[in-house]
């Protein structure tokens, strides 16, 4: 069956999106207060706990959950499994929006947001954060480039600028076509660059907390943190695509691509297995299991990560019945996503204890509201994008050669 991405035909506003809009507006209002009165006005951060949910969830969680972009690209383009093509664009869109929000989250979290460009010219090669910053910046731009053909495809043959600008229509059209041709020829290099950059910063994100040394709980502090971060990012890529795809199908009333999604689920099993093996291996080599003996919040959360984030979904995805049932597949993939999110929260927030004892950090309601607001905005933008751009594939009724630039009226 030939699939062709088309802009979806659905209303933007539904009960759900109205609720999300309210949440988004509230979140942005919190950001406004933060910009006017400083971080102290809305966050519970302190000199003892300098990083909170904005770094743990918006940034670290966001980067991990946007991993679907590079894993799908690797599968469809590097391994050249063309039938997964239909999943590439939605994953790319998520990655592009996800990283845009990571950048936004960083800008809001740093005290001097207007200096956010400093790392581009003031380099410190010894800093893990510098490496993350540079790679994420370049990667974000690579993602925009990768998305350009989708934009070009939407407008080629349909450029109609308003009013007096209309006489430029033909020129803009020609430019778009030239851009598209140029990109088609060089796209492979951007795709490869995107994968390399992802590998680099997904792992360096793990290096970040290594320097905190004994301030990190030994259940998480290990020199192989970068490897663990990379493995978990790779293993959460496909589950994230599954979750999104099933959610979008449901929301737009499309038939889910169960064949492809089930396959992704199957391929996730060994990835989860490798992650689990390294996490258990690390625990035994460093003998950090002693910290699991007495029940404590970190111990419980650590076990949740392993059990519900790795073992249970691995077992579920190994079963054919699960992979063929949308709700079960959604549950299994959702567990992986939740597990990785929990892992990032644990690494950046739960595992951190200041060198000198201080009352524990608990995020303020405003911090949480801002985080939820960002997530809501992201979902809204995703919906808007699939309504405007050809991102989601639907089985095309009449078969025949895929015409790339059909002139639509």
């Amino acid at each position: 069956m030939t699939h062709r991405p088309t802009p979806l035909d659905a209303p933007f506003f539904t009960k759900g999106t109205v609720a999300l809009s309210v949440l988004a507006a509230a979140g942005m209002a919190v950001m406004g207060v933060r910009l006017l009165f400083g971080l102290g006005a809305v966050t519970n951060l302190s000199n003892a706990y300098p990083w909170g949910v904005w770094i743990g969830v918006d940034v670290a969680g966001g980067v991990a959950l946007a991993a679907g972009g590079f894993t799908t690209a690797a599968l469809a383009h590097v391994m050249h499994k063309e039938r997964y093509e239909a999943l590439v664009r939605p994953a790319l869109l998520t990655a592009m929006l996800g990283y845009t929000f990571v950048a936004f989250g960083v800008a809001m979290d740093i005290g001097r947001w207007y200096n956010i460009w400093h790392p581009l010219v003031m380099w410190n090669g010894r800093s893990a954060l510098f490496e993350v910053g540079i790679c994420v910046t370049i990667y974000l731009n690579v993602l925009y480039v990768e998305f350009l053909p989708v934009v070009a495809e939407r407008f080629i043959g349909r450029v109609s600028l308003p009013g007096p600008l209309a006489r430029w229509d033909a020129l803009v059209d020609r430019l778009l076509r030239a851009l598209d041709r140029g990109l088609s020829a060089t796209m492979f290099s951007f795709i490869l660059l995107g994968i390399v950059l992802s590998t680099l910063h997904q792992s360096s994100l793990g290096t970040l907390m290594v320097i905190a040394g004994p301030k990190m709980h030994p259940l998480w502090q290990t020199p192989i943190l970068p490897l663990l971060f990379l493995l978990s990012a790779v293993s959460v890529g496909f589950p994230m695509v599954i979750v999104e795809s099933l959610a979008a199908s449901r929301s737009f009333g499309l038939k889910p691509e169960m064949n492809l999604l089930g396959e992704l689920g199957r391929m996730t099993v060994p990835l989860l297995g490798v992650t689990l093996a390294f996490r258990l291996g690390d625990m035994f080599v460093r003998e950090s299991f002693v910290y699991l003996r007495e029940p404590s919040v970190p111990a419980v959360l650590f076990c949740c990560e392993l059990l519900f984030g790795l073992v249970v979904p691995m077992r579920m995805l190994a079963s054919r019945a699960v992979r063929e049932s949308p709700p079960l597949l959604f549950t299994a993939a959702g567990l992986v996503v939740g597990g990785v999110l929990l892992n990032r929260i644990d690494n950046f927030i739960v595992a951190y204890t200041p060198a000198v004892a201080a009352p524990r950090y608990v995020p303020s309601p405003w911090e949480v509201l801002a985080t939820l607001g960002c997530a809501a905005t992201l979902i809204l933008l995703y919906r808007a994008a699939v309504l405007v751009f050809p991102v989601v594939s639907r089985p095309a009724p009449g078969q025949g050669a895929r015409t790339k630039y059909a002139v639509r009226v």
């Binding site: 910009l35 400083g38 966050t43 000199n47 740093i110 400093h118 380099w123 010894r126 492979f188 490869l192």
Partner: protein, 281 residues
């Protein structure tokens, strides 16, 4: 890839998996907690030297401040705490001016420098306010101005670097009425410290805190009892940035690994496209 190549260039060559060695003539301060009387004159002198608002003398005579432990913050770069023990004692806290400062290694824009004098100083013109330095510092020293919407600063003791450049003593050292603080070349201070321990073995814990902690610090403490794990963090002897920097250099060794990965992926891509097709794919 230009930025990437520069990245490898920015990192120093071959063996530089740890930060540059500190100057052999760097200075330090030896804090003798058995001498300190908790008068907090050093706190007052520090504020005055840094143009920060100070309180009247009565405030410094009031013992009530000792009831709750305090940390240096954006309004006080050094604070003196009273530690309850069999024989309570006082402990002045400030930046330790590490020989291999984690703050300098971690800072995304390289805003910290370990100077010849031993002082670790911060450059306001670079800082972006990410607070990674606070995450990295093993002694929980850098403080942030949480209430400021514009130009919030990272505040920490600067070892009175400007005064030192003018040949003056750090303000706290100059003010201390009982010479609990000794300023001098770090080697010399260590010799003095071990001599004091040898002369009165019953009086001192045999270890100098800061001699070996995280690879050595410019500020060091003599005390009647072990400070590590009680009053001050218990730390290993390896420089705090060591592991993190080795990982960084491993991943980026002259940018070979990323370029190799790029080439490998390129080959796989070419191979998958032109090689024999698997059925149905």
């Amino acid at each position: 890839m230009a930025a990437g190549a520069g990245l490898a260039g920015a990192a120093s060559p071959a063996s530089a998996s740890v930060s540059a060695e500190p100057s052999p003539t760097r200075s330090g301060v030896l804090v003798d907690t058995t001498v300190c009387i908790g008068c907090r004159s050093c706190e007052q002198a520090c504020k005055a030297a840094h143009g920060m608002p100070t309180q009247g003398p009565e405030a410094y005579e009031d013992d009530a401040v000792f009831d709750a432990p305090r940390r240096p913050d954006s309004t006080a770069l050094t604070v003196v705490n009273r530690l309850e023990a069999e024989r309570p004692f006082f402990l002045k806290a400030q930046c330790m001016h590490c020989d291999h400062p984690a703050c300098a290694s971690s800072c995304i824009v390289g805003a910290f420098t370990k100077e010849e004098s031993g002082a670790v100083v911060w450059d306001t013109s670079k800082c972006i306010g990410c607070r990674y330095c606070i995450v990295a510092c093993p002694f929980q020293v850098p403080a942030f101005e949480w209430g400021k919407a514009l130009e919030p600063r990272i505040m920490k003791c600067d070892f009175c670097a400007p005064r030192q450049r003018d040949g003056e003593l750090p303000a706290c050292v100059e003010r201390c009425p009982v010479e609990a603080l000794t300023f001098g070349p770090r080697d010399e201070l260590l010799r003095v410290a071990h001599e004091r321990i040898k002369r009165s073995p019953g009086k001192y814990n045999p270890r100098v805190y800061g001699e070996l902690e995280v690879g050595g610090t410019s500020w060091m403490y003599l005390s009647a009892r072990e400070l590590a794990g009680e009053a001050l963090p218990k730390l290993g002897t390896r420089p705090a940035p060591g592991v993190s920097e080795s990982i960084q250099h491993g991943i980026f060794a002259y940018f070979v690994p990323p370029v190799a990965l790029y080439s490998l992926l390129g080959f796989l891509m070419w191979d998958a496209k032109n090689g024999p097709r698997e059925g149905g794919e």
